[in-house]
């Protein structure tokens, strides 16, 4: 079985963000991450494309993404002082959306940096 290869892939596990990783992968998982360190290898090899977790949960019960988005919007809109926090293990594109949402909500916005 031949594996697909991506050259110069980017590892986001730690702040080094090494961008020289060679990934060997098939449909469901990454089999090899050349040049990555032990932490990076574990990061790449531990994830699969499987549907391991429910799409969404509301109060611990499985729900659709649409329902969960609506519930989230309602909770945030109803709040007097909503907070958006985290933003570390995600992309800049998502961070930008989060800033926009905090602005719209008139809420708080904060990242790991403040810890």
């Amino acid at each position: 079985m031949s594996l697909n290869v991506i050259n110069n892939a980017t590892c986001t596990f730690c702040g080094c963000v090494c961008d020289d990783i060679q990934l060997h992968f098939d449909e469901t998982r990454i089999h090899e991450a050349k040049k990555a360190c032990v932490l990076g290898k574990a990061w790449f090899l531990n994830h699969t494309a499987d549907h391991e977790y429910p799409d969404a949960l509301i109060d611990g019960h499985e729900a659709t993404v649409d329902e969960a988005i609506e519930a989230a919007a309602t909770f945030l809109h109803d709040a007097h002082m909503p907070l958006i926090y985290g933003l570390s293990n995600t992309t800049c594109e998502a961070q930008r959306e989060a800033v926009s949402l905090a602005d719209r909500l008139g809420g708080l916005l904060d990242s790991h940096t403040s810890l």
Binding site: T74, L108, D110, T113
Partner: protein
């Protein structure tokens, strides 16, 4: 120079890829052309890579930095003050001599400096020392960032709001005040009444009173896994993993943006898509200021 960090175990390729081993035009012999000093309260694995290891007493970072600044300015330093730090005057003077003689110095500081006694005052002292060394040679300082794209969070927030973190929009424009608007403080005081958490798991890392408050209020979590925080949240949405199954951009700790090249296809939506859709859903509701008019998607 590394201060209060253990890159050998936390940022394993930092030495080889960036700071110590690379050969360059001005440093053709790579490692041999460089000097590495490690400052910490105990010897870690990183000690093996260092030319000089300075073991200081726990909680004395600020004092050591202040003494170094005094020596740099040629001021007299009290012997008893030096004795308290766990170092000798020779070691401290040697440090300053080497720093002044360097062609280009870089200080990396970790949580051993910024999260121990003194906290941001420690970081400020180190940054001041780096700034003052510029009277003699080129010197810079940089924090060793942990989680993948936390640098990106700083950069994006600075770009969009003018501030890096600890922001509120509650007057309709961004204001910044760590301690007042930073998450742990807000949660421990019980100020906030709903939370959206993404790309973080405060349920596993924050102090217990903060976690308790997250469990009291409606918390919404976006994460590739069902996390500790998800278990106490009202809403959890599974999202794809940045860099593995979600495309986008991430910032390296020196603020270089790098494109992600995901190898896998995820059955889940990306954080970006979910946040955008929550934003659109909120936009369909009434404005939070009664006379603010209908919400429009202005910033897209």
């Amino acid at each position: 120079m590394y201060w209060g960090g253990n890159p050998a175990e936390c940022h394993p390729r930092h030495f080889t890829k960036y700071t110590l081993m690379q050969k360059s035009k001005f440093l053709p012999r790579g490692r041999k052309d460089r000097t590495m000093i490690l400052v910490d309260i105990r010897e870690t694995k990183s000690g093996g890579a260092a030319d000089i290891f300075l073991q200081i007493r726990p909680g004395k970072d600020f004092e050591v930095l202040t003494i170094l600044r005094a020596i740099l300015k040629g001021q007299h330093v009290n012997e008893s003050a030096i004795a308290e730090t766990g170092l000798t005057l020779e070691q401290l003077t040697d440090f300053i001599d080497r720093a002044k003689k360097a062609k280009f110095g870089c200080m990396f500081f970790g949580m051993g400096l910024s999260m121990t006694r003194g906290k941001h005052m420690n970081s400020a002292a180190l940054l001041t020392l780096a700034a003052e060394l510029n009277a003699f040679t080129k010197f810079v300082a940089m924090p060793m960032r942990g989680h993948g794209n936390v640098t990106g969070a700083d950069v994006i927030m600075r770009w969009q709001t003018g501030f890096p973190f600890g922001i509120t929009f509650n007057r309709g424009y961004p204001r910044y005040n760590p301690g007042e608007f930073s998450t742990v403080d807000v949660l421990v005081r019980g100020d906030t009444d709903a939370a959206l958490i993404l790309g973080a798991d405060p349920g596993a890392t924050m102090p217990q009173p903060a976690i308790d408050h997250l469990a009291r209020i409606p918390t919404i979590v976006l994460d590739p896994k069902v996390t500790h925080t998800s278990r106490l949240a009202r809403v959890h949405i599974t999202t794809s993993v940045a860099g593995i199954s979600a495309p986008g951009t991430a910032y390296r700790m020196d603020e270089i943006p790098l494109p992600l090249k995901p190898a896998l296809k995820s059955p889940y939506p990306t954080d970006q898509e979910v946040v955008r859709r929550i934003n659109e859903a909120v936009a369909r509701k009434s404005h939070w200021i009664p006379d603010g008019g209908p919400m429009t998607i202005l910033q897209r």
